[in-house]
Amino acid sequence: MITFLLRRLVNYVVLCVVVVFLTYLLASLTFDPISLLLHHDPPPPRSVINDKIHQLHLDQPIPQRFFEWFGGAIHGDFGNDVFGDPVNQQVWTRALTSLRLFGLGTLIGVVFGVLVGVVGAIRQYRVTDYVATFVSFVLIAMPVFVLGTLLKFAAIKINQVTGSDFLVFEGEVTPGFTGSFAADLGDRLRHLILPTLAIALGLVAYYSRYQRNAMLDVLGSDFLRTARAKGLRRRQALYRHGLRTALIPMATLFAYGFGTLIVGGPFTEHIFDWHGMGEWLITGINSQDANLTTTVTLFVAVCVLFSGLLADLAYAALDPRVRI
C-alpha cells in the first residue's frame, strides 16, 4: 500500500517537472515580450531594448534560462516578471486566494453532487429525479463565464428588489474594510458566496450525473439484496453497502474534475474581480511573460496532481481490494 502510493507520488513529481519544462519551452518559443516594447510610440531607443533583452535573459538559450528559473523555483524563488518585479511578491497571496475559492467550491460541489446523485437514483423517475436531471443537463451545457455572469446579474436584481447590498460580487474583500476579526471574516465570507456558487454549481451537476448512474448500478446488485435479506434496514443497506461501493468510481472522476475546475478559475476570478492565480495567468499571457505563466502552470500542475494523489488515497480507503 505504502509502496503503491510512493510509486504514484514519484510518478506525479516526474510528470510535474516534465510539464513545467514543456510549458516553459512553449512559452519561451511563442512569447515575444520585446514586441510589446516595440509597439510604444515613440519606439524606445536601441539601448533600452538591448538592456531589456539582457535583463530578461533573452540572449541565452532556452534550456539555460529554464534551469536558471527552475533552480530558483525549487527554493521558492520564481524569478522576475517582464517588468522586473519579483514574482514572489504576489505568488503566495494569489495562491491562497485561489485555493480558498477552489477548495470551498470543490468541497461543496463534491458533497452536494454525491447527495443529489444518490437522491436522484433512489427516487428514480420521480419528480425530484426529473428536476435534478433537467437542471444538471442545463448546467453542464453552461460554461462558467455564462453561469458567473448570470449569477452576478441575479445578485444585482436581488439586491435591487430587497433594497440591500448583501450580495457582493467585486473582489474578495471590501476595500478599506476595518473591523474586528469576526466582522472581517463575515465580510470575506460574504464575498465568497457568489464565486463559490459559480464553481460549485457546475461541479454538482457534473458529479451528480455520474453518482446517479453509479448508484443505479449498485441498487440493482445482488449484494444489496443480500444485505437487506440479512435484516439490515433499507437506509443502513443503502448507505453502508450501496453508497460506499458507488463512491469508488467517483474517486477517479474527482481527479479529472479538478482539472475542469482549474479552467473555471480564470473566468470566475475575472468575472468577480478576484486577484487569484487564474487572473494572473491571463495577465501573464497578455504581457508575454514566460516566468509568470510557468509559475501559474506549476501551481495548476501541483493542484491537479495533488488531487490525483488524494483520489488514489480515497480509492484505497473505499476499495479494500486495493489495500494489499
Binding site: N11, L15, C16, V18, V19, L22, T23, L26, A27, L29, T30, F31, D32, F137, V138, I140, A141, M142, P143, V144, F145, V146, T149, L150, K152, F153, I156, L216, Y256, G259, T260, I262, V263, P266, F267, H270, I271, L281, I282, I285, Q288, T293, T297, V300, A301, V304, L305
Partner: protein, 309 residues
C-alpha cells in the same frame, strides 16, 4: 411455409434500423436533433434571408434593443446582433464538429494501438496521455495562442483537437484490451492478418458505437473549449466572431444592455444542451446492454401488444 413462420413471423432488422428505432423513441434526443438541424440551417443560410451582414453596421441604431428591424438588437457599433450571432454560431458549430471528428479519430488510433501492441508503445502512449491530462487543454492552447495570432482559424482547430483526445483514448485502450482476447480477433491473428488490418477491420468497427457516441459528446465539449478560449481573446480573432467573443462583449453590460449577453449566451447553452442530449440518446440506443434503451424497447413492445389486441 414452415410452422414457425406461420405461428410467429420472425422479423429481422439490421442493426442500423434498430438503433434508429431506439433513438426515435427517445423524445429528448429527437428534440436535440431538431434543434441542431434548425440552428445549422439558420446559421449557414442567414445571408440568404437576412438583410443585415455581420460586417456592416447600421448608423441609425447604436445599442438598439430588439426591434422590428433588428430582431436581436444591435451592439455599441451598430452591428446587427442577429447577423453577428449567426456568424458566431457558424464558427462555433464548424469548429466543434471538426475538433470532435479529429480528436475522436486520434483517440481511436492511439487507444487501439496502445491496447493492441501493449509493451513499450503502450507504456509510452499512456504516459503521454497522463502528461497531457496533467494540464487542462485550455491552459496549453492559451499559452500557444500568441503564435497563431493573425493565422488561419484552422490552426486553432488542429490545436484544439491535438489536446482533447486523451480521455477517449483511455477508454478505447481499455476496450481494445478485452476485444483482443475475443475468438474472432484471435482467429484473424492466427490466420496471419497483419496487426494494422486487425485493428481497422476487426477491433475498431466493434467499438464504432462507442466512438460515435463519444464523438457527439466531444462536439459539445469542443464548442465549450472554443468559446472559453475566444472569450479571453485566445481563440477566434476579430474581425471574425464566435459565440465566445460575442459573450465576452456582452458580459460587461449584462445589466444595462441585457440582449448583448443573453442572446449569444442562451444560444450557446441551447446548442451544447442539444448536442449533449443527442449524444446521450445515441449512447443509450447504440449500447445493447443499456438498461434505458431496453426499457424503452420493452415499454414500446407492451404498448404494441396492447394496441394489437
Amino acid at each position: 411455409m414452415t410452422l414457425v413462420e406461420s405461428a410467429h413471423p420472425v422479423v429481422t432488422r439490421s442493426r442500423g434500423r434498430l438503433v434508429l428505432r431506439r433513438l426515435s423513441r427517445n423524445r429528448l434526443a429527437i428534440l436535440g436533433v431538431l434543434v441542431i438541424v434548425i440552428l445549422y440551417l439558420a446559421a449557414f443560410t442567414y445571408t440568404w434571408y437576412w438583410p443585415w451582414s455581420y460586417q456592416v453596421s447600421d448608423p441609425n441604431a447604436y445599442l438598439s434593443p430588439p426591434t422590428g428591424t433588428h430582431v436581436f438588437g444591435t451592439d455599441k457599433d451598430g452591428f446587427d446582433m442577429y447577423a453577428q450571432v449567426m456568424r458566431g454560431l457558424q464558427k462555433s458549430l464548424t469548429i466543434g464538429l471538426l475538433v470532435a471528428v479529429l480528436s475522436t479519430g486520434t483517440a481511436a488510433i492511439v487507444g487501439s494501438v496502445a491496447g493492441y501492441f501493449r509493451g513499450i508503445s503502450d507504456r509510452a502512449l499512456m504516459w503521454l496521455v497522463d502528461l497531457l491530462l496533467t494540464l487542462p487543454n485550455f491552459l496549453i492552447i492559451a499559452i500557444i495562442s500568441p503564435a497563431f495570432h493573425g493565422r488561419t482559424w484552422l490552426l486553432f482547430v488542429l490545436l484544439l483537437a491535438a489536446f482533447s483526445w486523451m480521455i477517449t483514448a483511455r477508454i478505447v485502450r481499455g476496450m481494445t484490451l478485452s476485444l483482443k482476447e475475443q475468438d474472432y480477433v484471435r482467429a484473424a491473428r492466427l490466420m496471419g492478418v497483419p496487426p494494422l488490418r486487425v485493428i481497422t477491420r476487426h477491433i475498431l468497427p466493434q467499438m464504432s458505437s462507442l466512438l460515435i457516441a463519444d464523438a457527439t459528446i466531444n462536439v459539445g465539449s469542443a464548442i465549450l473549449t472554443e468559446t472559453s478560449l475566444s472569450y479571453f481573446g485566445f481563440g477566434v480573432q476579430p474581425p471574425d466572431v464566435s459565440l465566445g467573443t460575442l459573450i465576452a462583449g456582452g458580459t460587461t453590460s449584462a445589466v444595462t444592455f441585457p440582449w448583448l449577453f443573453f442572446i449569444p449566451g442562451g444560444l450557446l447553452v441551447l446548442t451544447v444542451l442539444a448536442v449533449n442530449l443527442v449524444g446521450d440518446g445515441l449512447r443509450d440506443a447504440l449500447d445493447p446492454n443499456s438498461a434505458r434503451g431496453r426499457r424503452r424497447e420493452q415499454r414500446a413492445f407492451r404498448r404494441h401488444l396492447r394496441s394489437g389486441r
